[in-house]
Symmetry: C2
Subunit: 130 residues, 2 copies
DNA sequence: GCCTCTGTTCTATTACTTGTATAACAGATA
DNA sequence: TATCTGTTATACAAGTAATAGAACAGAGGC
């Protein structure tokens, strides 16, 4: 699993890990059932403390994306083939979408810009899954 | 200007203010040239310290959304009619969109769900501007 | 001139977050 | 037994979030 983070970014490392894992699941480079590296291993690979990785995995577990076994480590639990979202997810997600789209609109991206880029991103996800 | 924040939320207050102002500009309830309440006034209205409001305004200023005069206070500087986005904005924005869409995809929202909700939000922005 | 409004700056405090660090524990496996 | 896994606990340094009080400078009204 390729996973690059930016130590100089203002986004917390654990959140960058969460985001990259989520994107890997969306593109299909990680699928339900696939194992993630152990917290200690990924910590070494990224040159960071394993507690930071552990926090990222814990976030993903709370979100229902991965499952964590004491024996076999972290395993992807959910991907786009796992059925419809849990109750309440879609509306909470849309509230965050609203803020992001407001930002785009205010800065001058048109409706077509926004929808076009959304389609591009989704095409990218589906394209890599083929 | 209606502006509601949630003091119990895990999102920082100053960011909630930023988000609400941005959404108000997107819907047209705030337009370029419109004044924002003074930091002290909004602080009183929301029951928070004016330094917190000041931080939110400073964020919006850094993002180019408002202009701040020592005399006349904060004024909206940019809205959807102010032309195309600054260089680099669109790509940085799309990177954040990618993470948000990855989250939706992983949790089982389909392509049509995502695009439909995006259109709904954008329709909401344009609808309120009429 | 005086008063009041505006943002700005400074210092300070409290509480929480982020990341690192070390250590120890428990379960599974070779 | 030795080694791998996640888990838990504690601690520390640095930064962030929010509050608070005080003071300054510019602009406007009376």
């Amino acid at each position: 699993m390729l996973l690059t983070i930016d130590l100089d970014s203002d986004t917390p490392i654990y959140q960058q890990i969460r985001d990259r894992v989520l994107e890997a699941v969306a593109t299909g480079s990680l699928r339900a059932g696939d194992p993630l590296p152990s917290t200690r291993q990924l910590g070494v690979d990224l040159g960071i403390n394993f507690h930071t990785v552990s926090k990222a995995y814990d976030l993903l577990r709370q979100e229902g994306v991965i499952r964590i076994n004491r024996k076999s480590g972290a395993v992807v639990r959910r991907d786009h083939t796992s059925g419809p979202p849990d109750a309440g997810f879609a509306d909470a997600w849309q509230a965050r979408l609203r803020t992001l789209l407001a930002e785009a609109t205010t800065h001058g991206l048109t409706r077509d810009d926004v929808l076009g880029r959304s389609q591009d991103v989704l095409d990218g996800f589906e394209g890599e899954r083929s």
